[in-house]
Amino acid sequence: MATTKDTSTAVQAAPSVTSYLKSHMRDYGMLIALVVIMGMFQFLTDGILMRPVNLTNLFLQNSYIIIMAIGMLLVIVAGHIDLSVGSVAGFIGALAAVMAVNYNLPTIIVVPVCLLVGLIIGGIQGYWIAYWKIPAFIVTLAGMLVFRGLTLTLLEGQSIGPFPESFQLLSTGFIPDVFGAGRPNITALVLGVLAASAIVFLAARSRARALKYGIQDEPFAFFIAKNALITIAIIYLSYMLSTYRGLPNVLITMAVLIAIYTFITNSTTIGRRIYALGGNVKAAKLSGINTERLTFLTFANMGMLAALAGLIFAARLNTATPKAGFAFELDVIAAVFIGGASMTGGVGKVIGAVIGAFIMGVMNNGMSILGIGIDWQQVIKGLVLLAAVIFDVYNKQKAR
């Protein structure tokens, strides 16, 4: 067929670093953008951006967006959207406040109950979307209004707080230094080194495997450079954090979630089927995939992660307010699309969504330090979202 492109040369010849990078612009473009943006703000803010205290804040501020972006990635890969996550997060925060503050229930009960409620909320929305084929946009728009309203009802229009200390640990806690107190925090450094070694080990193993099957097209120099950069970045980061208060609990939660969901999307049958469902729902169905149940589970999972995000946000503010979670869904969805997910489903990576969330987060943080008003922040964030998607579409068209 005339339209068929012969891409065999890309695989068989050993490509140079630049040509490899060019052909993988879609994969690395946003990571490069993140590094550039960080560098720019580091310069513009006279180094405030990368100060230990600010770095810690950066993680704390964006943790809930990142956690929801992971769930949203699955929803969007499955070909849907969830507009209700901000309201659900706010509602769960309110629920936690009522349970922990008004009824004095212990954290050990409050957290699992809240996660379960989130799971059920997501499941109910997913039920209508999956089995009744009601567009996700409509169902979750309704959910957004419903839970915004229920948050107000639950809080009776007031803020509730403060939370007991054990609950606050969800967000403001730090991993204690087992090697004796003090700065730098040795635990943080050790964990950083361990994480970096694990990443390099896994990368080397998968490269060795790929080489064995003769399917490796990544230049060796690129592999070394990439992993060296990752290692340096992680160790530098953990060093910076260790000179402040160590690793925030939230960072560990996030890292664990990113690892789990990367594994699910890359290596499990359920992940594979979600991509298939988003790529071509009819073909997936005719291949014996229970597309309805999968859609349902995707939304239930989103509900649970939104609940977790709501808990962390409430713990961070130390109060549950009626305004909590307002417009979070927009940041979350933007993060996923900046991270390279496709509007039509079937394409997107967990790590991409995380990078997308960090791009938004660093811009928020950097512009706030610079004293740029919220008005212009919105304008700039909007333009960045548009630019990122245009970049993605452009690269896709070029690849054809």
Binding site: K5, S267, A283, L286, S287, G288
Partner: protein, 507 residues
Amino acid sequence: MENIILEMRSITKTFPGVKALDAVNLKVRAGEIHALVGENGAGKSTLMKVLSGVYPHGSYDGDILFNDETVGFSGIKDSEEKGIIIIHQELALVPLLSIAENLFLGNENVENGVINWPKTFSRTQDLLAKVGLKESPSTLVGKLGVGKQQLVEIAKALAKDVKLLILDEPTAALQENDSAKLLDLLLELKAQGISSILITHKLNEISRVADSITVIRDGASVSTLDCHAQNISEEDIIRDMVGRDMAHRYPARDSQLGKVLMEVSGWNVWHADALDRQMLHDIEFNVHAGEVVGIAGLMGSGRTELAMSLFGQSYGKNVQGEVRLRGELADLSTVPKAIKSGLAYVTEDRKELGLILEETIQTNTTLANLPRVSSFGVIDENIERQVSEDYRQALNIRTPSVFQKVMNLSGGNQQKVVLSKWLYSQPDVLILDEPTRGIDVGAKFEIYSIINQLADDGKGVVMISSEMPELLGMCDRIYVMNEGRFVGELDKDEASQEKIMSMIVKA
């Protein structure tokens, strides 16, 4: 001297790798009804697309003369301006707009940019009277039956001052009396001096209304018959339609039939949306181990509906009947159950229904049987790679690696990926729906070889195809299907294209 309204001279149209039309001639006299007949894929629709400007002037070779004037259309708008209007098989009406709005869509009665509704409605009433449709102009088109919608389409053509009306299988979806009405209308229009080209498979319609007939086969015009000068029998037309020669070659196979693998009985299925329309009537058939069974029939005869309703009730409502696999009653109510029972279905539309185009060959190959490459829900990519690599070699999929996205493959190679997927699901019976559609001759031969190999391995193969030579060359037995029923069964030795075609057109 004959008065010729349209002459198409040696029209040749090539698509990449395929010559769709090869020096086709067509001559239509003014004020006649000209029937255009031929098998599916013979090139009728392509010819009409050339005529109406869908394939613009310059993308084909040859001349078109309309009213003794050489014309070259660059789009449908051009041809409509000259009065050539085509009504496609799939109607181009907007169901949520009224009849009046549809009639003048793109051709509105405008004064200073504002639609003159009274004029629109009164003209609509005139046009509806002309086609004999007793409906209010404000009725929504979606509320009309297919027959009435056809009449609206014709009225729409009349609104544009039509000189030559082209109808692509207008009666395919119509009931008997609606068809009769439509044909009467064509005769009436003819009396008013409007010529028409009628594409149809139904020979009784041709003998009723046509003045002359052009037969097209394999992209070439085979014959033009004058219905008034000659006495033409249906057999003559059928012979011209199917031809004598076997265009392709088929790999030989020694059939070793085993026991009955699959047995379908009393299979009744209703339309998915219109519950009063029964699509399949009392279908009975069986497949033996090591047998290739063909299902012949025209487009719309219900072959795909049959296959999909069997495969986990993916089509239709109110599915009734029973299926026995290896003698045991099988539960095929969902796709996973059908796969588990040993059924596989290769769809006719591989891009829409068969493949995840954005994914790799490897991903597509294992999709229908992921548990086999995974343990506790975790996919072992090494096994997966090995499996897809094995199929790549066995089916000779031409690609540098199994990591190629399937959208970059040619049609033949894509089809082999779909086959890989279903072979890996370990079926007993494979239903192949148009397995060689849109792929070149070389790849076809490879697909045929794969099918033969499957039969030799003791599997049952059901092959649905619009290409009769293919069925005759490949199948041990052929069922003939028409309008949702099995109207005949032919053994390899007695089957011929003429027999199949006459079973269809005489049913």
